[in-house]
Symmetry: C2
Subunit: 434 residues, 2 copies
């Protein structure tokens, strides 16, 4: 049943490394090849093709399972999980749960699979006892319970939140061989709903001389982060809901700060205090950590906005192409500064590019899903994606990023990612060499 809808002379490479124009999706009759998970038993078989119907089946005669009050995924999807990695000495609460990007679709992350980065585990907070205190350079310090905040007017945004340390393995000398989720999965996109911070600042009577707001979380790490007050007043909010329901504990229940487009650590979870000040706190996580050491030996501090970025999620490391065929290349793009305007895809390591079809963003700072049809001729290929946002920023090559930032810079890695496909269809992470 597998047909080749696109024919090329076998001895000559297709233009654009086989990438088809994005209007190819509008055409009819394209058949797509299978990308297997390499660990799957299916990788050795070929049972997935469309085929003529065999026998008419009768429906089951028995009632199925009863209704549930809170639904869960299918037992057949039990392998779709976040991967947990602990930092440093293996402190059990200091680490991250990486979102399995290669197993998800669309432009949102379901709550159960949203990435998590915590410094001291998930505190068990009784929402009735929790308070957010706004204090410092204010006329009247105030304390807000979750119940009080729930009666304020709210706003909703579908935002990509990305950890500043996401993709940091890209700085390594050798390309790490891990799934896209375990390399780039400290980013997720959800609809966050909550109370605009401007309302609370006005209610407390912010001193016009205040230039910073220092946010503190209620976990054992007492994470402190300083954010310029103009940003706080501009578009930050106290999120109470995540994809329609109250926040998940690992994502900050009962309330978290949301700082649209800026690095994840600023989106302080279990938010307990906001202190208005005329200088930043210079706390541990904005001095010793979450700063970028430059080739000059100086460190870059307060780099807030996440760069424009994209990554191909299929095909990606750990997957395998079933043979020469037409495949859909798909992935995710986002930027902390403005909407994704275009995503280019290359199948020849960046020599030629074709514009991908885009879905989204629903919100300028949300996720964009990109898709491109690709005819793989069975020879080695280097797949890349390159996003450009509405501010004109374009995702840099790895060489350009290393050139400007050196190699001692853990955070803010947003270079173009390369997946190398070999003759067997096996996909590996690469720095650009076949």
């Amino acid at each position: 049943m597998r047909r080749m809808a696109i024919e090329h002379p076998p001895t000559q490479r297709a233009p654009h490394g086989g990438l088809l124009d994005r209007r190819a999706f509008l055409g009819r009759g394209l058949q797509f090849g299978t990308v297997f998970a390499a660990t799957s038993a299916a990788a050795t078989e070929s049972t997935a093709d469309a085929s003529g119907p065999t026998a008419a089946r009768s429906p089951p005669r028995l009632f199925g399972q009863p209704f549930t009050a809170y639904g869960q995924p299918s037992a057949h999807e039990r392998q779709v999980l976040r991967s947990i990695g602990l930092n440093g000495r293996g402190d059990p609460g200091n680490g991250a749960a990486w979102s399995p990007l290669e197993q998800l679709e669309g432009t949102l992350t379901p709550n159960g699979l949203h990435f998590v980065r915590s410094h001291a585990g998930t505190p068990a907070i009784d929402p009735a006892a929790h308070r957010l205190v706004v204090h410092g350079m204010v006329r009247q310090p105030l304390s807000f319970s979750a119940e009080a905040l729930l009666r304020y007017p709210m706003q909703s945004r579908q935002l990509a939140i990305e950890c500043g340390g996401n993709s940091s393995a890209g700085w390594f000398e050798e390309p790490v061989q891990r799934t896209v989720g375990l390399t780039h999965g400290l980013v997720s996109c959800a609809e966050w709903t909550g109370v605009p911070l401007a309302m609370l600042l006005d209610e407390c009577g912010a001193d016009p001389r205040a230039t910073w707001v220092v946010a503190t979380g209620a976990d054992a790490s007492a994470l402190q982060m300083s954010v310029p007050i103009d940003k706080m007043r501009g578009d930050c909010f106290i999120a109470l809901y995540q994809n329609g329901e109250r926040l998940r504990p690992e994502n900050g229940y009962p309330m978290r700060l949301v700082v649209p487009g800026w690095k994840g650590v600023l989106n302080v979870k279990w938010l307990a205090a906001l202190q208005l000040a005329d200088q930043p706190a210079m706390a541990r996580n904005e001095t010793a950590r979450y700063t970028e050491l430059l080739p000059s030996g100086q460190a870059q501090q307060f780099t807030f906005a996440m760069g424009v970025k994209s990554v191909i999620t299929t095909p990606s490391h750990g997957q395998r192409l079933s043979g020469p065929d037409v495949y859909e290349i798909k992935g995710l793009a986002w930027s902390g500064s403005g909407a994704v305007r275009s995503v280019d895809v290359s199948a020849d390591g960046g020599s030629t590019w074709v514009q991908a079809a885009l879905q989204g963003p629903r919100d300028p700072l949300g996720w964009t899903r990109f898709r491109a049809a690709w005819h793989w001729d069975g020879r080695p290929a280097l797949l890349q994606s390159r996003a450009t946002d509405t501010t004109g920023q374009m995702q840099p090559s790895r060489d350009a990023l290393v050139q400007s930032r050196g190699r001692r810079s853990f955070y803010h890695y947003n270079a173009i990612v390369t997946w190398a496909v070999d003759e067997r269809g096996i996909v590996l992470h690469s720095y650009g060499e076949v």
Copy 2:
């Protein structure tokens, strides 16, 4: 700490029943009153106000809970559940799980709380064994496994899906006294991602004389629904993902039909067959059921698009206002024919209207959240919302709907909903009388 930001002479009613202009949200210093769940212990106290901070708290010294591979809601949100109702003789698989609209926010429904309507329970389907057969008036019948469909190009839409029988209690002579979720909660909004049906129809070589496609589900009810082929080819798709992850079993895992804007029952779950034909199947659920008996005694059949509709979720039945104050009125609006263009809100039973502020839709057929600020003076009030879509359709009054459709018409109830607030702040369902 409660301050009244808006002052009115106490003996004179405010214009527009106290509804404030939607630009009021842009103003500063508005304080909002508490809407309690009537069953909550908090309803008798008043501890939720913003207040001066008391004592500086120390962060916990111990690490919190470890990371989890698949997250769950907070134990403090255990009461946020779907309500299960069984139909007819109490067959355990025939009924619905109603989404708790009054406890959700934003413009999406999380997967665990998406409404469910099933006729024979949730079948336990092994995705490796399941097939979708496309047959009938086609050149080449084909069978598709989920694995085969997963390699096709996909699209994502954020769509409100509403059961045709949602809100049917509105036809009763007396207003039912139930929560908004238990009355109107057979609607939800999620991002659905899947394969455009046009691709599969072309691949099978649809006969140009075929005018209908009959969809059949794999559950014990063998639900059959007929959809005109132009709609199927136009914007229908086979959904494989829901809010980023694979479909939930109760919502059709491993694949369901999505028919944007049209009544929920057409969005056949556990989709097993699509038969192209030159006439509809005239199956049980499109003749004996899911049709509307008119005053003339004739039945209306194949009423597909869901009407323009809105409902206030806060304040709503079962909630209680804490006293005269400013409140946020909020709710949801949607239409099966086009984007919601405006929502008007009334606090005086429809004598005067004020335009609400809108959030969304992210997709023309998704949910719009509306919000309006309201100064309640402590006297009885009748709260209503009225949506208008871009096709010019406006939500009808209950009287107008009953006038045109009679009282024997179970489906497609989209009349304006009235919540009566009494002097004690108690909110009850009403047909317009205080």
